[in-house]
Symmetry: C2
Subunit: 238 residues, 2 copies
């Protein structure tokens, strides 16, 4: 069965990158690489960099075949198609080059129509202008029975979670507290009313020294309820 999945590396305080710097955005990849946003992002995703499965996709030598690498490999292999936000695509289009690491159709949610961009290795970028739900439906057809993965960024992930479109969420929790940063589960993007919450069920936890992988099934929205803290069943009443 095709699931709509998302996975993201976050800090212990729930950030997927450092804070956006005030003032003009640094130009060029080198500028961004030294921004506070990037410094946080690099720390949080450091566990990926040594993973053999990631290095292979990027065409880099070296790397370790370990549990973290297995998690990366599984993430790549389970996805038959991707849905991606426009900002993430804009940041990746040039650095990913002719052979982006996805090796599957990618549907980019954007307001700007553009012709589909074929790439090597099975990757293509199709631009979808009628919203995230439509992009997920197109990805579902393209996924050939595999999962549809929300590739990011955080804003698109929140949209999918808010709209009840996400079946599974995996967080890779890096053991670092960033303080200020871009919060994955930023309340401003979740659209929860007061007293409302999103319930999940943890289905798998993998522990490594570098990162804790926690996978959840998303159950959906529910109302928070008051409880009596167990006071009903006092010793006297039994």
């Amino acid at each position: 069965m095709t699931l709509v999945t998302a996975q993201m590396s976050v800090s212990l305080d729930g950030c997927y990158a450092g804070p956006m710097d005030p003032g003009p955005v640094p130009t060029g990849p080198e500028g961004w690489m030294n921004s506070h946003e990037a410094l946080g992002f690099m720390r949080i995703t450091r566990w990926v960099i040594d993973a053999m499965a990631w290095r292979e996709r990027l065409g880099f030598a070296g790397g370790e075949r370990n549990v973290n690498s297995d998690v990366v490999q599984e993430t790549f292999e389970s996805a038959g198609a991707y849905v991606m936000g426009r900002r993430m695509f804009d940041g990746g289009e040039v650095p990913w080059g002719d052979d982006p690491p996805f090796h599957a159709p990618v549907f980019v949610v954007t307001h700007r129509a553009r012709q589909t961009l074929p790439r090597e290795g099975g990757t293509s970028f199709t631009f979808v202008t009628d919203g995230v739900e439509s992009a997920i439906e197109r990805a579902r057809i393209a996924a050939g029975g595999k999962d549809v993965a929300i590739a990011g960024g955080g804003s698109l992930l929140r949209q999918a979670l808010e709209a009840g479109l996400l079946d599974q969420l995996e967080l890779h929790i890096a053991p670092v507290v960033l303080g200020e940063g871009m919060r994955l589960l930023d309340p401003a993007g979740l659209g929860l009313a007061p007293g409302e919450a999103i319930e999940l069920t943890p289905t798998r936890v993998i522990q490594t020294p570098e990162v804790t992988h926690v996978r959840y099934t998303v159950n959906g929205r529910s109302r928070l309820v008051s409880d009596d803290r167990g006071r009903v069943e006092t010793s006297e009443e039994r």
Copy 2:
């Protein structure tokens, strides 16, 4: 060796309670129990309520002797003394009654001097007016070789973390997204400069369907550094 420890139940988005309601604080325990702050708190700490080890301390019958109960019991047993914030003490003083669940000396960080309050079962409340570091030192002497536990609330935990006084942090991550709420690792209370972070090492993860227990050793502050994303070792260079 005496460690300074803290443990806290948090939502997947890092909140330990719902948002503080605007306007006047609801009066009386029933008023608070129906506040948005309490609704979030109750959901996040629900896993504790059925734990036999918690119910025993509170004098309630029933409960389950399961992994979550073992975690509660271990938390109680490892603490030889507690340090507590003033707001938490104010909220608990009446409901905890004559036999509070701590069964050990508790040092309350406050600006208001007050005589030590002896209670039954080994609990006492001593009021410390010269700050969290002093309270921890007094608790360390009282702990008799066991750990000093920061009992809460979130503000005191952040103070201890910011001041580098915390050796171990355990988070009990409840599988729920609250959106708005009181954030344990609120950047406003952590005092981190841009490009600075607090590094930790995960030492134990316990998975249950109700909650994920993750224990960390706190390594301390460090500067975030840029990295080359592994680009140095390309296939061509090997």
